[in-house]
């Protein structure tokens, strides 16, 4: 039995309604408890801001796509080099760092849980191997179904149960956590040299539309009682005028779950553009947030961009090809058999580019115009919008109008006509920041029940203690202190153990991978369906028996079982 007492913590725990109370937190064997014995180890939090461990609900840190970004960018390995020190491995890289680089940087920023935004099922092993080398965060994998042939056939047959059964078999086979749809149907169309222009376009050869895929998958998701909702990267990413597609998509979503949203729309900044070309692009964040404010069934994340160099990587192959046509930079595209695809290209977001300035403003507008902070979470689609190490600056921008004004003054003049960022006075408070960086993520991912994102007794003892005294710092004016404070925790605690201190990681780490296993009645299990098996053996390059990820790849996996309503 190991016990730890954290004294004098200034706690914000939104899921439990705690707002800045100075209190003690007792921990036993990795979980929060009511009290500990007098001989417990003690950490003095000295009145510092103490939050549940940070959760990133959409980030690309592990898997084939991220690793191909590393292959393609040897120059990135010249940045962010740190030598071996204590328990810390050598790291290198800035926007596509080594796995340990990602893990250490997240940890020193107080993040203890990260969802990998897109895992191709066929390439799941690699993702899980890299999860094991990201040892300081519990990991979860969004699993791609956007161009899955069997799913599209089930959608075409209007057979929701069949779609649910395929999802169940796939998620449990590849140890995935949630359904991810990236440009549904579009990446498959790209496999045939085309793309889709909206959610009513039919996917070539399958005769289903993105709208049908999305609505069927939403229903299937709820039949399976998955902890998370469908996680959607809308069609038409990064195209001027695409806000219409986004609004149309939001309009499809029924409210089916009382505990959480029914649709998680990711990196919405990339989907909130007005205008018809890059010349007249403008923000439609007002329209998007008006829709979201009226639809509790939708949660989105910002997809904030920050100025500087980074790497875009997504399963959205056609979008990456469009980016290549724009930048003529090195690029890659991949096809993943019967499932999905991907593309990668480096970018530089520049303050001189009006388009980039508009993008920057839209992300902030989305967060500031969404009334309920649980509905717009902080993320950059790391590293697409910016490497996650920029999160503290985004927190600073959301907490300080003055900081935003000072940044705006350095941007392209056109930003005032194209966006409303200068007219927004809202400044977030500590509680709202706690929501958009952990509590909201825990609720949206459905992992509060797993003890994530809050500090009630029984919760996992994941905490971040930031060297910020909330009473002494006025975020509106002293935003630099806020940014610095969120860059390095005084202590990051994971399962009751101090893992990082003042910017140094001090343990080897031992994370957990959460995955779901929905129980399906035998007669619906696709593994028993000769037609499904035959198709698999016919078209995949691997045998069906070799497809599932073995337990050895998840030495500390934690299975979340659900009972399907099929």
């Amino acid at each position: 039995m190991t016990e730890l007492l954290i004294r004098n913590a200034c706690v914000f725990d939104p899921l439990n309604g705690i707002r800045g109370d100075v209190m003690d937190i007792a921990i036993r064997d990795g979980r929060i408890v009511e009290s500990v014995q007098n001989n417990a180890d003690v950490i003095d939090a000295s009145g510092f801001l103490t939050l549940p461990g940070g959760i990133d609900s959409h980030s690309h840190v592990c898997g084939t796509k991220v690793n191909f970004g590393r292959y393609m960018s040897p120059e990135d390995m010249r940045a962010g080099r740190t030598a071996r020190r204590g328990k810390m491995h050598v790291t290198s890289g800035y926007y596509v760092p080594t796995t340990y680089g990602n893990s250490y940087r997240y940890s020193t920023m107080g993040y203890t849980t990260v969802l990998e935004g897109a895992m191709a099922p066929l390439e799941a092993r690699h993702t899980h191997e890299e999860f094991n080398a990201t040892p300081l965060q519990d990991m979860l994998a969004n699993t791609l179904f956007d161009g899955n042939w069997s799913i599209m056939e089930a959608v075409h047959a209007q057979d929701v149960k069949r779609a649910a059964a395929i999802v169940a078999w796939t998620l449990s086979s590849v140890r995935g956590f949630a359904i991810k749809l990236t440009n549904p149907g579009g990446t498959e169309a790209w496999g045939w040299g085309g793309d889709l222009t909206g959610i009513r376009d039919p996917v070539p050869n399958f005769n289903v539309t993105p709208a049908e895929i999305i609505t069927t998958m939403i229903e299937a998701n709820e039949l399976l009682h998955l902890p998370h909702s469908v996680h959607l990267h809308c069609n038409n990413l990064g195209k001027p005028g695409n806000y219409a597609t986004t609004l149309e998509t939001f309009g499809l979503v029924p409210d089916l779950n009382k505990n959480r949203q029914t649709l998680y729309a990711t990196h919405v900044q990339f989907h909130a553009y007005g205008g018809s070309t890059w010349r007249d692009i403008c923000s439609k964040a007002d329209e998007i947030t008006k829709s979201v404010n009226a639809k509790p069934q939708i949660v989105m994340d910002m997809g904030q961009i920050m100025f500087g160099r980074t790497m875009t990587m997504t399963a959205d192959g056609p979008m990456e090809f469009n980016l290549y046509c724009l930048h003529h930079n090195k690029w890659s595209n991949h096809d993943v058999e019967l499932e999905t695809g991907s593309g990668i290209i480096p970018v530089l977001y520049s303050k001189k580019s009006l388009v980039n300035c508009v993008m920057w403003a839209i992300g902030l507008e989305l967060a500031l115009l969404t009334k309920n902070p649980y509905q717009c979470l902080l993320a950059t689609d790391n590293p697409n919008g910016a490497p996650f190490v920029k999160y503290p600056e985004i927190i600073g921008l959301l907490m300080s109008k003055r900081y935003r004004d000072e940044e705006c003054a350095t941007l392209h003049d056109g930003i005032d006509q194209r966006t409303s960022i200068s007219s927004i006075d809202r400044e977030m408070d500590w509680n709202e920041i706690a929501i958009i960086t952990r509590a909201g993520q825990a609720r949206a991912l459905g992992i509060a029940a797993q003890g994530k994102g809050h500090l009630a007794p029984g919760a996992e003892a994941d905490l971040a203690i930031y060297p910020i005294r909330c009473d002494d710092v006025d975020p509106a004016t002293e935003y630099r202190k806020v940014v610095e404070g969120f860059q390095k925790t005084r202590f990051t605690i994971k399962r009751g153990r101090v893992v990082a201190r003042d910017g140094d990681v001090i343990v080897d780490g031992a994370n957990t991978t959460f995955w779901v296993n929905p129980t399906i009645p035998d007669e619906h299990n696709v593994a028993n369906d000769p037609e499904f098996v035959k198709k698999f053996e016919e078209y995949y390059t691997v045998r069906m028996s070799n497809y599932p990820v073995q337990d050895v790849y998840l030495p500390r996996g934690r299975c979340i079982k659900t009972e399907a309503d099929i």
């Binding site: 393609m72 960018s73 040897p74 120059e75 990135d76 010249r78 930079n329």
Partner: protein, 258 residues
């Protein structure tokens, strides 16, 4: 002032020495400099016999002379901005990286990455240079931006890759992919080259020997007499595949395979 560094005989001569501290400016404050041998930090004096003649108050007045076996000494002259370095034998990889001023003279051969991402100054190599001479770095889109690199012998593959500014002159021949991805500057090859200037965007490349496997994506735009060379060259523009505006001049038609 002359600083003479004579490499001592080492038990493990293959262990590379990382010696980015060897630039004239650093000797203004004495010779107590650190270098790495393999993964161990050493003092300069552990690896070199050091003698200093005269004094200097500016780096321009300092010449560093390296003697003995320096073929495994890497990064000599990295970020050098003034003065002179003379290497009497061969030099290891990455000599003159990011150099912005001053002269480096190598009497022997240079290993790979000579003058990589150079910005100014002059490098003269009397022998042969290895691969990636006067090039960029892996993955980067900008190579050498200024200064001059002259090699009296041959250069290896990828010479002047991503050349962006400055001048590179190889008196001998180049290996494969010379001047690939050139974006500017001037590149002269007196000898032969294979598949030169692929993806060239801008700049000028002149080849006076034979071009092997000339790329089909260069557009012939005419001929030109070069009186000082007493030759007529064929002028090509390209790389068309990259919408390039680069100029490649080759003696004759340049096409050995025609």
């Amino acid at each position: 002032m002359r600083v003479i560094l004579e490499a001592k005989v080492r038990k493990k001569p293959f262990l590379p020495i990382e010696a980015e501290s060897i630039i004239p400016r650093n000797f203004l404050k004495g010779t107590d400099l650190a270098v790495y041998e393999g993964n161990k930090e050493r003092k300069l004096v552990d690896l070199f016999r050091i003698s200093v003649e005269g004094t200097a108050v500016t780096p321009e007045k300092i010449e560093v002379v390296l003697k003995g076996d320096t073929s495994r000494v890497k990064r000599i002259g990295e970020y050098m901005d003034a003065g002179k370095i003379t290497i009497s034998g061969d030099v290891g990889m990455h000599c003159g990286n990011f150099m912005s001023g001053g002269d480096i003279e190598i009497l022997g051969n240079a290993d790979a990455w000579l003058g990589r991402e150079m910005r100014g100054g002059y490098i003269l190599c009397h022998g042969n240079a290895g691969h990636y001479c006067a090039s960029g770095y892996r993955g980067e889109k900008t190579g050498m931006q200024g200064g001059r690199v002259e090699v009296l012998g041959n250069a290896g593959d990828y010479c002047a890759e991503y050349l962006t500014g400055g001048e590179v002159h190889i008196h001998g021949s180049c290996g494969d992919m010379a001047g690939v991805e050139m974006k500017g500057g001037q590149f002269i090859i007196d000898g032969d080259a294979t598949r030169p200037c692929g993806n060239m965007k801008d700049g000028t490349c002149m080849i006076f020997g034979t071009v092997r496997q000339m790329l089909p994506t260069f557009e012939r735009i005419g001929t030109k007499k070069l009186p000082d060379r007493k030759v007529t060259v064929t002028v090509y523009k390209g790389d068309v595949a990259n919408r390039g505006k680069g100029i490649m001049m080759v003696k004759g038609t340049g096409r050995s395979d025609e």
